[in-house]
């Protein structure tokens, strides 16, 4: 679990993020004022049902939203790429090998406003993402080896050249090949013997790096895997490949968008173990997006519950699960069938998610909440702390004006 003493550094901070979508019915406020921090080395879970905006939030880190219907309507997503390790100042020591600490700057940048060129550099390198359907995220026409190679060629070409022990005066063509920036005529140059030899060395080094990355995700035979195509692999394997690809460059932040939803339960458990192990070893921060409460409970340090484009509750996993304060969170937990539930008596939340087109200023859960009061229909509650790290956006805990807070003991199913 999270070490409390290093809690002060955040690898990412979202402040008042607003993402809207243009649709026939109007402007849909998919994400409407979301704020949270992702601390260094922690796994933050983002939980919610369909349409709550969690996927959109995750994608806005990498600006992977289709911009014509999508509108970045405001907010700041500040990202602090890791600075050098505090112990050795970037020189390399036992503490920081294999973690993401590099000699890059320590200045936070706003991911929403940097240029697309810079964004491209960050994608895959400092922030990586893994998706729900590994079958769709992998290129079906390339072998696994070829796909993984791309990552290394794009982002770690310097290291690659070093590994291939190519002398510093290697011709530009080879360097450019390594960095995937070929110039006209390079293809021809690389065919000639001395260049060919160097290129072969490069290929060997590349294969080594790919194999190592794959081995880290515990695939049985990485060398053999490299020659396979995605469709030849099972879902679990594909997901491991995707994870290997994502972690290839030691990113500071990994965004996982429902990575195990398409997998069988037993495979899912293995993948979760893997993500947890890798995260702890490399001290990567993870934003884990899911709709599955039991899953989030098992691997996340802190959890944020989203509903209708807002965060309604956030806190450590223990706190939120042991003592859920928001009626939606409580409703959600009560709706999951557990051993103790009597048949036919699953607590269902009445009503449906409101349309997010020009939402009125009222609590979005009004109309579905068993504890509703008049204030709930007039004002929007803000996310305020309840106890320590635990915050809720609800008038029950933060009554406005002279409202008397109703006790939670009433009603529950």
């Amino acid at each position: 679990m999270l070490d409390a003493t290093q809690a002060s550094k955040n690898v990412a901070s979202v402040r008042d993020l607003k993402v809207h979508f243009q649709s026939k019915r109007g402007v849909v406020h998919a994400v409407d004022g979301v704020s949270f921090d992702i601390r260094d080395g922690e796994t933050l879970g983002l939980v919610g049902e369909t349409g709550c905006g969690k996927s959109v939030t995750g994608r806005s880190f990498l600006r992977l939203l289709p911009v014509p219907p999508g509108i970045l309507a405001g907010g700041v997503v500040s990202f602090r790429p890791h600075g050098p390790c505090a112990v050795c100042e970037g020189a390399g020591c036992a503490d920081c090998t294999n973690t993401g600490r590099r000699a890059s700057g320590d200045q936070p940048i706003d991911l929403l406003s940097i240029s697309s060129e810079n964004m491209r550099r960050i994608r895959g390198d400092r922030i990586a993402m893994i998706f729900q359907d590994p079958g769709k995220a992998l290129n079906p026409t390339l072998t696994i080896g070829a796909q993984m190679s791309e990552v290394f060629l794009q982002h770690r070409s310097a290291e690659l050249l070093e590994r291939a022990s190519l002398p510093p005066d290697t011709s530009g063509a080879v360097r450019r090949f390594a960095a995937q920036e070929p110039r006209f005529g390079d293809g021809l140059i690389l065919k000639f013997p001395p260049k060919r030899g160097q290129r072969a060395k490069l290929q060997v080094a590349l294969n080594q790096m790919v194999t190592e990355a794959l081995a880290e995700t515990q695939v049985p035979n990485p060398v053999k895997l490299m020659d396979r195509f995605p469709h030849e692999l099972s879902g679990g394997m594909r997901q491991r490949v995707m994870i290997a690809q994502a972690l290839a460059c030691n990113p500071d932040l990994l965004i996982a968008d429902e990575p195990t939803t398409a997998l069988d339960v037993t495979v899912e458990a293995r993948i979760l173990e893997l993500i947890r192990a890798l995260q702890q070893r490399r001290k990567t921060s993870v934003l884990y997006i899911s709709h599955d409460l039991s899953l989030v409970r098992r691997i996340c340090d802190r959890v944020a519950v989203m509903y209708a484009g807002r965060i309604v509750e956030i806190g450590t996993t223990e706190d939120v699960f042991a003592n859920p304060r928001h009626p939606y969170t409580r409703g959600l937990m009560a709706a999951v069938p557990t051993a103790g539930t009597a048949r036919g008596k699953l607590a269902a939340i009445r009503g449906t998610v409101p349309e997010l087109v020009d939402p009125p200023s009222a609590c979005r859960f009004a109309g579905r909440c068993p504890y509703e009061t008049a204030a709930c229909r007039r004002n929007d509650p803000s996310l305020l702390p309840v106890a320590g790290d635990h915050s809720v956006a609800c008038f029950i805990d933060h009554p406005t004006g002279s409202q008397v807070a109703p006790s939670f003991e009433r009603v529950t199913e």
Partner: protein, 422 residues
């Protein structure tokens, strides 16, 4: 405790009897499309469904549960074995039924599908969709049709205002309700539900599950509930059938299975996704290594032995296991030039060099091979660049009856399985 006990009185009559059902799909190869083998999607499954009860059919992808659901509802014919339907007191095979009897079966056995969007014709209005069964069997005059449909819609929590709408105008949960209304139209005795809530949000799932339970109580419906979600099936099913690779590995009363599973696979399923109420922390999650074997060449003995942590020497170790293990060991598979099988258990592995063969014969005796597999080896001879192996031949592990109506196909003592606590 949980589920309100059902019918403690005399055991209800059997509605459907699934006996030794097999569904094989031929694999065709070559220009002449010769049959080269069979995918054994369902390989000998038997259980009964009684009036008013819910039988849960659980397993992961590829276990055959969906295929079995389709055979039970009559969408596909079984290639072996039979499904018997209780027709006026006698059990008759559903693929032998003619005319009036076939119609009676059809009316009494309905199905709800997983994908609520794909199971409703996008060009039909709700009145068309829900009214169709009534029209097909000419149950009502066209004047009464609308009223009957409205009645059905109200029973599933929809209303008159939904009659003249297209499926795409509804949410996933509402579409599933429409599906259920359609299934109820002819007052069936049993409904096969194929992952009805897998695609729905948790809160919507709760509504649908509550609805299904209410309907069951009102109409004394039987359900065959096919799902991969253990927590759902625990909530819904009276009895459980756990499938793996086309066969049943465990069957019995839901609660007692959850209390003490007899089969390691059931145990693995439960360990992979503990209850939300469980206070145990992250370390307790356990997955399964390996992948589901090819259903065209299922493992010998117990099909689960390739991934089982508690496998014993008599669980069916065979040549294929060695080959599979070879594939995963770097540096060995490339040197394998051929496998000459005398049987599933006895073969000669040919390598391209003597040292590769020697390497293999040493490796098999090493730690990297499961101990059970090593003990099952009857013979291991190194002959130049060939390695001759033979395992103890074992028969397919059968389902054995245990106490309290439980069935399980595992050679291990149930106490031993239960004792491997998390």
């Amino acid at each position: 405790m949980n589920a309100s006990p059902k019918q403690e009185t005399a055991p209800s009559e059997v509605l459907l009897s699934i006996s030794d059902v097999q569904k094989y799909y031929p694999i065709r190869e070559g220009a002449l499309q010769r049959v080269a083998g069979h995918v054994r999607a369902v390989d000998g499954v038997s259980f009964d469904i009684r009036r008013g009860e819910t039988v849960g059919l659980v397993g992961e992808s590829g276990c055959g549960k969906t295929t079995l659901g389709r055979v039970v509802s009559g969408l596909t014919d079984a290639t072996g074995g039979a499904v018997h339907y209780n027709l006026d007191g006698t059990l008759s095979q559903i693929d032998h039924l003619q005319d009036r009897q076939a119609r009676q079966f059809r009316r009494n056995c309905q199905m709800v599908f997983q994908d609520s969007f794909a199971s409703l014709n996008p060009r039909h209005l709700v009145i068309d969709i829900v009214g169709r069964p009534l029209r097909v069997y000419k149950e009502v005059s066209s004047g009464d049709l609308v009223e009957r449909v409205v009645e059905l819609l109200e029973q599933v929590g929809l209303g008159r205002q939904h009659l003249y709408r297209y499926p795409h105008q509804f949410s996933g949960g509402q579409r599933q309700r429409i599906s259920i209304a359609r299934a109820l139209a002819l007052n069936p005795e049993i409904i096969v539900l194929d992952e009805p809530t897998s695609a729905l949000d948790v809160s919507v799932q709760a509504q649908i599950l509550n609805l299904l339970n209410d309907l069951q109580a009102e109409r004394n419906l039987a359900y065959l509930f096919v799902t991969h979600d253990l927590s759902v099936v625990r909530h819904m099913a009276d009895r459980l059938v756990v499938m793996y690779l086309g066969k049943v590995c465990e069957a019995g009363e839901t609660q007692s299975i959850f209390d003490a599973p007899h089969h390691p696979y059931t145990r693995a399923l439960m360990a992979a996704k503990p209850d939300l109420d469980d206070d145990r922390t992250g370390e307790q999650v356990k997955g399964l290594d390996g992948i589901v074997p090819d259903p065209a060449r299922p493992p010998q003995g117990c099909r689960f032995h390739t991934r089982c942590e508690m496998a014993t020497p008599v669980c069916g170790w065979e040549v294929d296991d060695v080959v599979r293990w070879l594939e995963d060991e770097p540096g060995m598979f490339e040197h394998l030039s051929g496998v000459e099988r005398q049987s599933e258990f006895n073969a000669e592995l040919a390598f391209d060099s003597e040292e590769a063969a020697a390497k293999l014969s040493m490796a098999i005796r090493s730690e990297s091979v499961p101990a059970a597999m090593k003990s099952a080896l009857k013979r291991l001879n190194l002959k130049g660049h060939k390695v001759d192996i033979e395992f103890e031949a074992v028969d397919e592990v059968q389902l054995t009856a245990r106490d309290g109506g439980r069935l399980a196909s595992c050679v291990l003592d149930p106490a031993h399985v239960a004792e491997k606590s998390q």
